[in-house]
């Protein structure tokens, strides 16, 4: 099958404003007061995607490793920033350990996928590395915020249990083993659930994209299988490392629970 994509012209793109108009009318009729958000959201969608489009085009054309990796670092930093917004705990600083473990884990997994499994040469070839790494970072961002949220809330809710064990001579690892397990499990479950539902409930975005751009569905599903499995690995590895490092910060060297 030869790639045959129908290009969307600027005029056709403009027609899409009709969709926003429909949403706007719904908001006005029901007095939801969402018109302003809709307008800002639409403008941001255009601006952000066009910006990313040009950045990607630039990075693809220049095709140098440091620029690709810089873009990856920026993606991870943006993900950490979003995680910070979602996780409300402020008494324990979790940004640096989160950033470092995401960077290490996701560089490894992305490089493994592009270099070994897809077999792109070199492994950082932007056309492969950036979209795949982007999916890893995006999915794991959700998983990591779930696990951090769970870690902090369980340490607080199960404070008496954790302190009971500390008082009986446990170190912080022993006292919070069960809490940590719950936090990692909570992060892994969504990606395992999606292994069960994929193809039946929804067609994943990447596969849809490839099919739309004319790729043989049988080629597209292979990519999708790779993506699904790499996401299981990255969400679990990411959550495991992040919660392990951040848990340490919830305790003082005197094996005392400091989070309140």
């Amino acid at each position: 099958m030869t790639p045959s994509i129908i290009e969307i012209t600027p005029l056709q793109l403009m027609l899409c404003f009709g969709f926003v108009l429909l949403a706007g009318i719904t908001s006005m009729v029901n007095r939801l007061g969402l018109e302003r958000d809709l307008l800002v959201g639409t403008i941001r969608t255009f601006a952000q995607l066009f910006l990313v489009g040009y950045v990607l085009k630039f990075v693809f054309e220049i095709n140098v490793s440091w620029l690709v990796l810089l873009m990856f670092v920026v993606m991870v930093a943006a993900a950490v920033h979003i995680i910070r917004g979602r996780v409300k705990e402020r008494s324990v600083s979790f940004l640096l350990p989160t950033f470092i473990s995401m960077l290490v884990t996701y560089t490894l997994i992305s490089a493994l996928v592009t270099g070994v499994i897809v077999g792109a040469k070199p492994w950082w070839t932007p056309q492969y590395f950036i979209p795949l790494a982007g999916m890893i970072v995006g999915n794991s961002m959700t998983a990591i915020s779930i696990s951090l949220d769970r870690l902090f809330s369980d340490l607080k809710a199960r404070r008496s249990e954790v302190e009971m064990m500390l008082a009986l001579g446990a170190d912080y690892r022993e006292a919070s083993q069960d809490v940590l397990r719950g936090a990692i499990k909570a992060a892994m479950i969504p990606s395992i659930n999606s292994l069960m539902a994929v193809g039946l409930v929804s067609l994943p975005g990447m596969m849809t994209g490839q099919i739309l751009s004319g790729v043989d569905p049988l080629v597209a599903i292979r990519y999708q299988v790779v993506v699904m499995l790499m996401l299981v690995a990255s969400t679990s590895m990411g959550a495991f490392l992040v919660t392990g490092l951040v848990r340490r910060r919830c305790f003082s060297p005197a094996q005392r629970l400091v989070i309140r």
Binding site: M164, A167, L168, G169, A170, D171, A254, R256, R260
Partner: protein
Amino acid sequence: MSLSLDQVSFAYPDGPVVLEKASITFEAGSFTIVQGLSGAGKSTLLRLLCRLEEAQSGRILFNGQPIETMAPADLRRSVAYVQQMPTLLSSSVRENLLLPFSFKANVGLNRPSDEVLTSHLESFLLSGVTLESEATRLSVGQAQRICLVRSLLLDPEIVLLDEPTASLDAESAGVVLEKAAELGRGGMTVIMISHSQTMPEGVTHVVTIKDRSLERA
């Protein structure tokens, strides 16, 4: 074994000052009742003594040795802390009693046999409870007694009891108070928070927390 506070100040982060330059010595073998209004800092005092809280200034001494120079697990093996609300894991009574022996810091200690555990249960008038009983199905009074047994199995030298009878029925409260008195008679240092007007048998000192300092009655 004695415990002393030397000019200890403590405040919770973004909270009120609980203790300000408080000093006191709990002598070896003494049985002290700690009193004070709720929120005065009675529980905080006990938590400071086993380092579940850290004083901002001043020193806490275990037999003359600053507690921060001891490994936390060593301190906590010598100074047992029993929480106000009994906390047991969802497993058998045996597993709960042996929990401390599963921690790395305690592996060198002798694991008590079933006979020893059973005799402890009997001496706490828990003859209806077996080692196989599910711990989370016990009454609060039974659970508190199990918690006390669990702490005593580590053979501590000092016991900190945070209002152990607060939510107990009369029978359980009686057993716990009788046990506390027995520990005191046996030479153990006992520090117990109590709201009750009636003093348990064998009390040697009463300490009141008031206006961020400790007063001996």
